[in-house]
């Protein structure tokens, strides 16, 4: 007997150790998940915040009347067609007194974004007095320069791996020494749509596209899902048909999202001939996807309304339908709203089905109607990620930040509604 007790006594040390170890493993699991989350957020934010600012270079522009308006007619159309790239290059050259050959001036001209020539021509059309005069202007730097300015560690790379040549780097450092370089809020990013040049590309077009798509999704899925939820939870008789309905809804919730894209492609585009890349089709596909989410949310929030409410209404002579529509449903609205917002936020982050229906096009215009070609926010992120130019890496991360901000806002709203309006019985 004592022998046994001794054995228990002896084993206790090891057992306690394995107990501590096991608990530690559990904690480690959560810790690792948490670390992953932090790493993801860190890698996104550390790269993305760079894209919110962009580099400008101060250039003393000489509005050469020989180039702009050789005939001295001050005609708007002629000025618009003048070679403003040459004006920029010539003005840049004056920064560097050393003799520059033709190749050098080409390299120099790539300092400034290609959009600035248009900007200057509009400027001159409006202010014709400047023709033949000098003016100090801050011009948008090209993406390659911008990337180097934002990532100083890239200056140490070899010339082939760097985006700019040794000569360009020398000029850049000279500009920096003269304090002719500044970083400013990247307005293009917040107001423009996609572009081939990273410094001119923006998120606004895809944000509008996402908004239009989600509007369609909401209009289509919300009433249908609430109606289905009310029917299944409150009014449906228990029979084979409703059972079949429930099985279908559960299956629909588990179908991979890309399958919905295939459905959209085969039916909405190829049979119904709706326009490709349009928010209306995207909205329809996403509506089918969010349907189960909202139905399930509706049902669970209807379920949480106590039966006494129904009994009281029926006791006072209401029909079953009246008791549901006039009394139970209003009490369930906060829960339904919460579920709907969460469903919408999921739809906002969804991109796979949108790839199938062609919302991955390169679209330079901000969409204005439900039939315009457009992209959506997550698809824009995907598109930028697939683009080779180095400047798009930061834009992609910035796009992710914008997407996450919207998701946080939506989920915050859902939590707010839940805590503020939802009744605890």
């Amino acid at each position: 007997m004592t022998n046994n007790l001794d054995r228990v006594e002896l084993s206790l040390v090891g057992r306690k150790r394995s107990e501590r170890l096991f608990k530690f493993y559990g904690f480690l699991g959560i810790l690792i998940a948490f670390l992953f989350l932090i790493t993801i957020l860190y890698s996104v934010i550390s790269q993305g915040q760079k894209a919110f600012f962009t580099t400008f270079i101060k250039v003393n522009i000489f509005f050469d009347s020989e180039i702009i308006d050789p005939q001295n007619q001050r005609n708007d159309e002629d000025i618009r067609y003048a070679n403003f790239n040459k004006i920029i290059t010539e003005s840049l050259k004056k920064k560097f007194p050393e003799n520059l050959n033709k190749n050098d001036s080409k390299e120099l001209s790539s300092f400034i974004s290609s959009s600035e020539a248009d900007y200057l021509s509009e400027f001159v059309v409006k202010n014709k007095d400047y023709i033949g005069k000098y003016k100090n202007m801050w011009l948008l730097a090209s993406s390659n320069i911008d990337v180097i300015v934002k990532n100083p560690e890239m200056e140490d790379l070899d010339e082939e791996d760097r985006l700019i040549s040794d000569k360009q780097l020398g000029w850049l450092n000279q500009i920096r020494l003269n304090k002719e370089l500044k970083k400013e809020l990247n307005k293009n990013f917040f107001t423009k749509a996609d572009s081939t040049e990273p410094e001119q590309a923006g998120i606004w077009g895809s944000l509008v596209g996402s908004f239009l798509t989600l509007l369609i999704t909401l209009i289509l899925s919300f009433p249908v899902a609430v109606a289905a939820g009310v029917f299944l939870e409150e009014l449906a008789p228990k029979n084979k048909f409703t059972e079949f309905l429930e099985v279908n809804i559960n299956n629909l919730a588990a179908v991979p999202s890309i399958i919905f894209g295939l459905l959209g492609l085969a039916i909405f585009l190829n049979i119904m001939h709706l326009p490709r890349s349009a928010p209306i089709v995207g909205g329809m596909v996403l509506a089918l996807m969010t349907l189960p989410t909202i139905i399930i949310a509706t049902r669970s929030s209807l379920k949480s309304v106590p039966p006494s409410i129904r009994e009281a209404a029926i006791g006072l002579g209401a029909t079953r339908f009246q008791s549901v529509v006039d009394h139970v449903l209003p009490l369930a609205i906060p829960g339904i709203m919460t579920g709907t917002i969460i469903g919408m936020s999921r739809a906002l982050g969804e991109s796979a089905p949108l790839l199938m229906i062609g919302m991955v096009a390169f679209i330079v215009d901000v969409p204005t109607t439900f039939l315009d070609s457009s992209t959506a926010l997550p698809v824009q992120i995907y598109l930028w990620k697939s683009t080779a130019a180095r400047g798009f890496v930061e834009l992609t991360a910035a796009g992710v930040i914008v997407l996450l901000v919207f998701l946080i806002l939506m989920n915050g709203l859902a939590v707010f509604i839940r805590q503020k309006f939802e009744k605890k019985w």
Binding site: K23, I32, F36, V255, L265, Y382, A397, L407
Partner: protein, 461 residues
């Protein structure tokens, strides 16, 4: 008549009908000094008229939306001179597409004048038939509302009628789920059958060579073996395996800690953190896998003198595993907490420590539920698209080495369909064959998982 003016007229008509119907019923009621009044409340008479108006207008609008393209095409074909069709060479439908795509406000120089003329005609006709259709629908709506207002009498039980219609509408909404499922299955099967007309079913399912690009060149018959899906299935399974390798241990240990060890306060902080991982859009995970994890692994493994593909299965699978963690942890957490307390108490009474109880009593008891959770997670992983599209490869390699680049079913669907327009080629149809495989695989996994979880629940409830 444009759409918006039509819309506002209908809204106005509807509200008027409702108001008029209610008022008519009120008047009928007030005329009765003694005896029974109308069988339903006056507002139900208004609601009934309103409902019928809305239903009939919606019905006709839907019919119009679907039939308009066909009617429009028919009218346009009648107008195109025969000479142009002969000269064009293609089918008349292609010509109509060209006409529709012509932007008359900004005509491309050198466009055939007949096409411009037809484009102008198209714009005119488009508006004209729209307004004709709207007028007809308006007329129908008006007739229906007059008819339903006329029905208001002592014999008509409006409440019953309204409730019946409403319930039928609710049922109609519920059946959308069925319609969607049928739509998915039919569209997938239909296109997949067209694919299997061109490629042998068994060659697809058991072939070892996947190179759809070679089979698309014109005049080339889809060569045998070009659509062998085995490398794709194996790639999918490899990435899923890597994902599960990451997700199951972390998810399960987190669940055990949350369910058995964590104090309530700790639990209420940790659970939302895990749920944030579930709320991150997959495109963000894809970005993370491609930009951060891929290069990191390449450098890290390179330190030891190994080489690793930049789009390796391990990068995509690992990040997918992170995405799956909350899925496994929250499902397993529910399952573990559902194990009855008296099992735990019995084990403690025998002198077992907490970890021994978890290992020897709770996990075996919860195993079916955890299996269900894992199966659901696997079905999630094989259907996941964006992570693999952004971080896994496109070339179909038949390998089990996670450091190499493999491709998955979803990646292939995306690469086959994005950008390509030709809808009759075996290449695009192959995407649907892969889609239906994916659909049935996930459906199968889900049904089994739900069965297991349900059986398990019955056991302890």
């Amino acid at each position: 008549m444009g759409f918006w003016s039509f819309f506002f007229i209908i809204v106005f008509l509807g509200l008027t009908t409702r108001w008029y119907g209610t008022n008519k019923a009120l008047k009928l009621n007030s005329n009765i000094k003694e005896g029974p009044k109308l069988p339903s409340l006056p507002s139900y008479y208004g609601a009934n008229a309103f409902l019928w108006l809305v239903i009939s207008v919606l019905l006709f609008l839907i019919v119009w939306v679907f039939s308009k393209p066909y009617i429009l095409d028919y009218i346009l074909i009648q107008n195109i001179p025969k000479a142009l069709i002969d000269e064009f060479g293609g089918t008349p439908n292609m010509l109509i597409d060209i006409i529709k795509a012509t932007d008359i406000s900004n005509i491309f120089p050198g466009t055939n004048p007949i096409i411009i003329e037809n484009a102008l005609y198209y714009n005119k006709i488009d508006k004209l038939i729209d307004s004709i259709a709207y007028s007809i629908i308006l007329f129908v709506g008006l007739t229906v509302s007059i008819f339903s207002i006329n029905r208001i009498s002592f014999l008509f039980k409006a409440r019953q009628a309204v409730e019946k219609t409403n319930i039928n509408l609710l049922i109609l909404c519920s059946t959308i789920a069925i319609i969607a499922t049928i739509g998915i299955i039919l569209s997938l099967i239909f296109e997949a059958l067209r694919f299997f007309e061109k490629v042998n079913f068994f060659d697809f399912l058991f072939g070892f060579n996947w190179s759809p690009q070679t089979a698309i060149r014109e005049g080339q018959v889809a060569s045998d073996g070009a659509f062998g899906a085995i490398p794709i299935f194996s790639g999918t399974l490899l990435i899923t395996f890597v994902a599960m390798f990451v997700a199951i241990p972390i998810g399960l240990f987190s669940a055990i800690y949350l369910a058995e060890y964590a104090k309530p306060s700790l639990r209420s902080t940790f659970k939302p953190i895990l749920e944030i991982l579930a709320g991150v859009p997959t495109v963000v995970y894809g970005f993370f896998a491609a930009i951060t994890v891929g290069p990191f692994l390449k450098n890290f493994v390179g330190e030891f003198g190994f080489t690793i593909a930049s789009e390796s299965a391990i990068a995509a699978g690992g990040v997918m595993g992170i995405m799956i963690i909350p899925f496994i942890s929250s499902l397993s957490d529910d399952v573990i907490r559902a194990v009855p307390q008296n099992l735990r108490d019995g084990s403690y009474a025998m002198g077992a420590t907490k970890s021994e109880t978890v290992k020897k009593i709770i996990l075996p008891a919860a195993l079916p539920g955890i299996m269900g959770a894992v199966l659901l997670a696997i079905s999630r992983a094989i259907g996941e698209t964006m992570i693999v599209v952004m971080a896994a490869g496109i070339a179909a390699n038949l390998t089990l080495n996670p450091f190499e680049s493999v491709t998955t079913v979803t990646v292939q669907i995306v690469t086959l369909l994005v950008g390509d327009q030709e809808f009759d080629s075996a290449k695009t149809l192959a995407a649907f064959a892969l889609g239906i495989t994916l659909f049935f695989a996930t459906l199968f996994l889900n049904i089994i998982a739900l069965r297991i979880v349900q059986k398990y629940r019955e056991k302890y409830d």
